[in-house]
């Protein structure tokens, strides 16, 4: 089984962090995985995105022209990636910042999750919106096991911020349960 996802949003939303987490989880599950971040001269504080490919076989391209799924955390990213998603693919959008009405495409499996709101109001930290979205994405696609994500958190969170691990677990869980409830 091979799947892939592009995750995109503003810089600072933690996009690269969730891409890393997903990748490491897949690795821990013994699978092949590649992670490819945007790099270079784009304006800082502008946009950030990464591509993760998961597979049971050796992976060819770590870059994907037509992704099977997208996690979209802000408006500009929707404009950019919406047309690219494969027919019938998964699209998770952050409804707190992205207007679901703009999606248009009817062939996609859309999940509009108010990630910022959940993060702020339920989890207790606006910073964790992306983590919420990742939880939702993973519930949707079964890309990895939730438990593996939890287990891998220490590998992407530096010692200094260790104490926030439980909060991150919560964020993942909230995203997961939102997705389950909006299947």
């Amino acid at each position: 089984m091979t799947t892939d996802v592009i995750m995109a949003g503003f810089g600072g939303q933690g996009i690269l962090m969730i891409g890393n987490l997903l990748s490491i989880a897949a690795m821990e599950e013994g699978r092949h995985v590649t992670y490819f971040p945007a790099y270079g001269v784009e304006m800082r504080g502008g946009t950030a995105n990464c591509t993760v490919v998961l597979s049971d076989e050796e992976i060819g391209s770590p870059v994907v022209g037509r992704p099977r799924a997208c996690v979209v955390m802000n408006g500009p990213s929707l404009d950019r990636y919406l047309p690219a998603i494969r027919e019938g693919g998964d699209l998770v959008i952050n409804r707190s910042l992205v207007d679901p009405a703009k999606v248009g495409r009817k062939d996609l499996r859309l999940l509009a999750i108010p990630a910022n709101d959940i993060a702020r109001e339920v989890v207790g930290s606006q910073q964790l919106a992306s983590m919420v979205a990742l939880g939702a994405y993973v519930q949707r696609t079964g890309a990895v096991r939730m438990q593996t994500l939890f287990d891998c958190l220490p590998k992407v969170i530096s010692k200094k911020y260790e104490k926030f691990i439980p909060l991150n677990v919560n964020a993942l869980k909230e995203g997961e349960s939102f997705a389950r409830n909006h299947a």
């Binding site: 503003f10 504080g45 502008g46 802000n74 408006g75 500009p76 910042l97």
Partner: protein, 80 residues
């Protein structure tokens, strides 16, 4: 706001600025630059993801253009 409008009516503003909402990157440099403290950071987020500056206290504006001179993104136009 109403209060501000009143105040403005009292001491008539000598100038006016316009901040380009979409171009503003919310750097805040114009805020302390204005000697009359007319500018504040807003809440509304533009397409760039920035909560742009707003002309909060027009009634005090002297049209001195210091804000405009300070804006690295040339978002501010000034009239007098």
């Amino acid at each position: 706001m109403q209060e501000a409008a009143k105040k403005g009516a009292a001491a008539a503003p000598k100038g006016r600025i316009e901040i380009d909402f979409e171009r503003c990157k919310a750097c805040e440099l114009c805020v302390p630059a204005c000697p009359k403290n007319c500018i504040e950071m807003g809440r509304r987020i533009n397409a760039g993801g920035f909560a742009a500056a707003v002309f909060a206290r027009p009634e005090d504006c002297t049209g001195c253009a210091i804000c405009a001179e300070s804006c690295p993104d040339v978002c501010i136009e000034v009239w007098r």
